[in-house]
Structure formats: structure tokens, C-alpha cells
Amino acid sequence: MTEAIETGTAADLVRRPGLTPQDGLVLEIEDLVVQHRRERSRELFTAVDHVSLSIGPGESMGVVGESGSGKTTLAMAATALGAPGTGTIRLLGRDLRSLKRAELRALRPEVQVVFQDPHGSLDPRQSVRSGFKELRALQPRRTDWIDDEDLVGRVRLAPDLLDRYPHQLSGGQAQRVCIARALMMRPRLIVADEPTSGLDVSVQADVLELLREARRTTGASMLFISHDLAVVRSICQRVVVMYRGAVVEQGDAEQVFARPRHDYTRRLLAAMPGSRWRAGR
């Protein structure tokens, strides 16, 4: 394959005829329970509490909640790094718990993660180009569809940035590099964990547009973790609201934000900054 799959809008993909919901699901989580031990007291607490959700092809799902709500633990469960806790995690129809280590490894490139701190996810000793080269060596066939120059072009970076090191990149540029690295793998699922939280608002707008476009052009699904309801509403079709490890509400993003049913969702919406600005808009 020499070109990214151009598929039209994600909604078209979901509605693509011949794709039954059952075999088409990219991610299915059923009754997931994950417990962690607290660092200080060593007591056990439930980070993810009987959570079920599913993501179809091309679909973008937002997970909102405050710190400690379990949203990152949930996201990490989708990365095929292992199958934490109890419950079922199916990625592209494969049950992660039943897979051998080698099978799990083969499945891993299908999920790419974009983290909050882009500088933390890049090796400081590697230029952008040599970082790309390393990834290509790991997955030669998966990555040969695009060359380095085209790839950075897709995330709106100039080709001369290829020879820079992470410390020579701004936060926004470094996050674009991370998105490029994810795109290179042609993943079926992009997990984005607070990808714009450390960025200035104008840079955030660009990065969100880039993620939207990445989803559009590759047909990848997205699991988007954020504490920012407005950001989630701008990029996700469906949303899951988490509170203390449990999903308190989920559904169509517009429905949930316009007509929240759970008290906690209402509280989150009421606490959103900018009510004065929106009221007069």
C-alpha cells in the first residue's frame, strides 16, 4: 500500500454497508475491573469499576472525568500492552487475555498512543528523523506507505524539522511529531491521553484539527481522554463520563452535553469556565 486509506468522514465509515456491528468493533471492553495499590498506604482501590464500552470503526469516543476518575487506567487497558484486572478486552475482535505474548506484540501497532507530555514521549538523544527510522526498522512493511517528508507534511511541519532534536521543538511541534509517529503505523485505534492539556490554546486548536484530519484520512478510531468537556465535544461523537472509576453516563456526545442525566455530569458542566462568554455569544 502506498497511500493512506481515504475514506471520507468517519460517520460514513461507521455506516459502511456490509459491516455488521459485531465483527466491526475496534475495541470492546466488557465489565472491566482494575485495582491498584495506593503508593503510601498500600491499600487497594478500584481504579476502574465494572466498565463496559465499545468503539466502532472510525468512531471517536471521549472519556471525561476529573483526576483519579480512572480514565487513564481505562485508556491504558486499550493499548494491548497487557490485559489488566478482570473482564473482557477485545481489540479488533481478539480477546487480549487469550493471546500469547507474540500475538499480543503483533497486535500492538494497531493501537498508537499520544500522551499529554510530548517531550516525555520522545527520546532526547534522537533527531526526529532517526526516531522515525527506528520505528520503520521495527515495522518495515507497515510503515513503507509514506516517506519522512510526506509524513511531517501531514502534521504541518516543515521538512527541516526532521533534523531537529526534541529540545529544539516547541510543545506544539513535539506533539505533532508524536502524532506523525502514531500515523506512520496506520493504526486502527488512536488513544490520546490529554494530548492538548499542556499546550497554549491556539496550539491546542491546531493539534485538535490535526487529530480530526488524521482520523478522517486514515479511518482510525479514537479513544480521547480529557478533563476538558469543550475539547471532547469538539472532537468526539460519543462520550463516557467517569467518576471514581465508574461510568456514570455514556452516549452520543451531543445528547450527553445538551441533556445530561447524571448529577455528576451536570456538576462538571456547571463548573466549566466561560459561562459568561457563552451566555452572550
Partner: protein, 274 residues
């Protein structure tokens, strides 16, 4: 302090930093004032100079930073003029400061009670033990803390992030300063906690008639709390005015771009998807 009286005045303030052999311009010709009973938001992206502005008032800038021109006046007293070294100590009695990370402004080895008593004993001449106790309890109640005794007996790590930030605000206001400066003080908090802290600031300003200089990267947050907003970019105040005016009728492109970058949100009604 009477409402409306100018507390803080920055007049054509230009601040530079010496780095290697070069002079970097951190603030250029900044004009700003904060009156009693008023919240002034200083909004800008990273590197815009907003933190330099906040820190210049409390003398917390690095050694290589100097005032090139202009002055800072606090309640009519000149704190900083040309040639002064910015290491003045207006903090404490006249200015309270709240930082982003409350856990770093609190000493992990000291209970909350001792934090408050140290500040009171340093800044209130001849204060007695009973008064220290009374004012410590009172200030925590003012912070809407229901069980002040438990909090007073706690170490910082035993408190939630929201409570720690309330304690940090209590430390900033316990000496009844005329002016409080808050630098990104809700950035690390969850949105519901952030909303509580913002409501608390509004109460403090309205009840005590202090002036509040509220520094934030979040224009929406500033719009909820502030009476006036100053927009900063590249070391300059590019726009300043009443909040509604800045939001509805921005006069410079930079403000328009900031507003345009805020994700769209329609109250209740459905928005369209890309």
C-alpha cells in the same frame, strides 16, 4: 481600603533580562492598574510575560532581571523605579501571593497551624498567641473550610489538592493585604475544584475589597471572574478593558485569535460535527 481606589499601578514598565551578552525584553511599556474591590485578569499564552509581570510586583524575579524604564507603585508608594533591583519585599503585609502549585509553596514538614502562625508573627507586630489562634481559625472559615481545627492540625500531604490551595490562599490573605496576586493558581486543579476556588476569590474581593491580579492562560476562566482583562502577548499588554468589552468587541487581532481558538460550545442546543 475604599472601593475603587488605585492599589497597584504599573507605569510604562519595561523589564529586561541579561542573558550572556544580550538584553532580552521581558516586558515592554506595560500600563496597568488594579483598584480596590476589583479583579484584573492578566491573560496570555506561554512566554507572553504574564508571570514576569506578576512577579515584578512581589520582587520575585531572578538576579539578571532589571527594570529598564517605568515604575511600580503600591498604595501610592513607589516600589520600583529605574535602577532598583526588583528584590524589594512588598510581600506579606501589602501583597499576598498564590502560586500554581500549592504543595510547593507549603513546607511539607510543617502543619498548617504553624504556616499561619509564622506569617502572622512575621507581619503583625506584637501579635499574641490567642490572636494568632483566633485569626488562623477565622481565615480558614473564610475559605469555606468547615472543620478548621482538623485542617490546622494537618500536614500539607494529608490534604486534598483543593484544600491545599485554599490553605495557600489563606496564607496570602491572613495578614489583610491590600492586593493579592494569583499566578495560574487553579491550573493544577480539577474543574469542579477550580470553580469553587474562583467563587471563593470573588467573595473575598467583594467582602474585603482587596484588589486581585489574576494571572491565567485561560481566557474563559478569566472571563468568569474578572472585572477587567489585560491581554498580553510577547511582553506587551496588547489590549485592556472591561471583561465584556474585551470578549464581545476585541480591538486587536491577537485577542480575536485567542477567542477563535476556544473550542465552540453551544449551551444545550446541538453543535455540528466536523
Amino acid at each position: 481600603m475604599a472601593r475603587g481606589e488605585a492599589l497597584l499601578e504599573l507605569r510604562s514598565l519595561t523589564i529586561t533580562a541579561s542573558v550572556a551578552d544580550r538584553q532580552l525584553l521581558l516586558l515592554r511599556d506595560v500600563e496597568l492598574e488594579v483598584r480596590a474591590g476589583e479583579v484584573v485578569g492578566v491573560v496570555g499564552e506561554s512566554g507572553s510575560g504574564k508571570t514576569t509581570l506578576a512577579r515584578s510586583v512581589v520582587g520575585l524575579l531572578e538576579r539578571n532581571v532589571q527594570v529598564a524604564t517605568g515604575r511600580i507603585e503600591l498604595v501610592g508608594e513607589v516600589l520600583v523605579g529605574p535602577g532598583t533591583d526588583l528584590t524589594h519585599t512588598a510581600r506579606g503585609r501589602s501583597v499576598g501571593m498564590v502560586f500554581q502549585d500549592a504543595s510547593r509553596s507549603l513546607n511539607p514538614l510543617m502543619r498548617v497551624r504553624r504556616h499561619l502562625s509564622e506569617v502572622l508573627e512575621r507581619h503583625v507586630d506584637g501579635i499574641g498567641r490567642d490572636e494568632v489562634r483566633a485569626r488562623s481559625t477565622e481565615v480558614l472559615r473564610r475559605m469555606r473550610i468547615d472543620d478548621p481545627d482538623r485542617v490546622l492540625d494537618s500536614y500539607p500531604h494529608q490534604l486534598s489538592g483543593g484544600l491545599r490551595q485554599r490553605v495557600a490562599i489563606a496564607l496570602a490573605v491572613v495578614t489583610n493585604p491590600a492586593l493579592v496576586i494569583a499566578d495560574e493558581c487553579t491550573t493544577a486543579l480539577d474543574v469542579t475544584t477550580q470553580a469553587e476556588v474562583v467563587a471563593l476569590f470573588r467573595e473575598l474581593v467583594d467582602e474585603l475589597h482587596i484588589g486581585l491580579l489574576f494571572v491565567t492562560h485561560d481566557l474563559m476562566l478569566a472571563s468568569d471572574l474578572c472585572d477587567r482583562i489585560a491581554v498580553m502577548s510577547q511582553g506587551e499588554v496588547v489590549e485592556v478593558g472591561p471583561t465584556d468589552q474585551v470578549l464581545r468587541h476585541p480591538t486587536v487581532d491577537y485577542t480575536r485569535r485567542l477567542l477563535a481558538a476556544v473550542p465552540h460550545w453551544t449551551e444545550g442546543a446541538s453543535a455540528t460535527h466536523a
